[in-house]
Amino acid sequence: MSKKDSKKSVLTLHPERCKGCRYCIPTCPKDAISVSEKINQKGYKPVMVDMETCIGCGSCYTICPDYVFEIKEVQ
């Protein structure tokens, strides 16, 4: 299987869970995470991710206390 055919890691975001601690922002190696201006149901400004920049490394998943990020594999 060539590298082009291998699976790709894609981030799924759950902004409704975010409590705005911002641990993910300095942890992201690509600076793809920023703060949204919208307010979620819990009353916090959640983070948002630039999907073009994201490489699906999972650093944000590891540091997040509120399970906002998931990394899924797609073809």
Partner: protein
């Protein structure tokens, strides 16, 4: 690349404050239970404090004990159900202050249970009172001028109390970075492997931020652990199936 999906044991959003380390530790514990295929069999013992907020959100069987007595309760569960993985999940005020005796005697008896002790150096749920683990000079609502060690003693280092006992596994980690979180996951896995192989008492102490009661921004609370808290509570594995040396 590996998929990083929310573990099955996390059945609801957690109820902790923003930036609380319990959320990270809950996820690590749930990942380890999933990877070891123990989620369906695990029985948790908890007492009182912020840790007991996970009774609704962490999908294993739980029994709640009176304040501090989780280790004594876990002893009973494990002796009745030796085939099930049994663990305690407690904060430092719970396990090292109110339940210090139960925690120490479970280790002293080398009970075949796993203890997850989350140390944030303060009584969190009750509003930020001084704990035995509070640092010298730490300002809390019951030590507004800072902890005076002449009056209240030095911070309680539970690992120093346990490391010479005949136990299976003892380690201390923190959740301040990806590297440290991955280490904590390895420690918790080692602890459950020790229990499932009948290796005796296993304990992992985890240094965790409490931004709300420390009155710090979450990022500053992680820096505080790395720069200050770890000088009083050094990280690492202290006992690894090394109990035999005391026999």
């Amino acid at each position: 690349m590996v998929e990083r999906l929310i573990p099955t044991a996390l059945v609801e959003d957690n109820k902790f404050c923003p930036g609380c380390g319990h959320g990270i530790i809950n996820r690590i514990l749930a990942e380890v239970l999933d990877e070891m295929k123990l989620t369906d069999k695990a029985i948790g013992s908890m007492a009182v404090g912020c840790a007991c907020l996970m009774v609704d959100t962490f999908g294993v069987d739980w029994i709640q004990s009176p304040h501090g007595r989780a280790a004594a309760l876990a002893t009973g569960i494990k002796r009745c159900r030796p085939e099930n993985p049994v663990f305690t999940y407690q904060g430092d005020g719970d396990s090292m202050s109110i339940g210090f005796s139960e925690t120490m005697y479970a280790a002293f008896r080398n009970e075949n249970i796993t203890a997850i002790l989350v140390n944030n150096g303060i009584f969190g749920m009750t509003g930020g009172q001084m704990a035995p683990t509070s640092l010298p000079g730490q300002k809390t609502v019951t030590s507004p001028m800072g902890r005076n060690t002449d009056l209240t003693g030095q911070p309680l280092n539970i690992i120093n109390q346990m490391k010479d006992l005949n136990i299976g596994y003892l380690a201390r980690g923190s959740v301040t970075s990806i590297k440290n979180i991955n280490r904590v996951k390895k420690y918790i896995r080692n602890a459950f492997e020790t229990q499932m192989s009948g290796g005796g008492y296993s304990m992992v102490e985890i240094l965790s931020p409490c931004p709300t009661n420390w009155k710090m921004m979450p990022d500053k609370s992680l820096e505080h652990i790395d720069n200050t808290v770890t000088t009083y509570y050094p990280l690492g594995e202290y006992v690894k199936k090394g109990g035999d040396s005391n026999e």
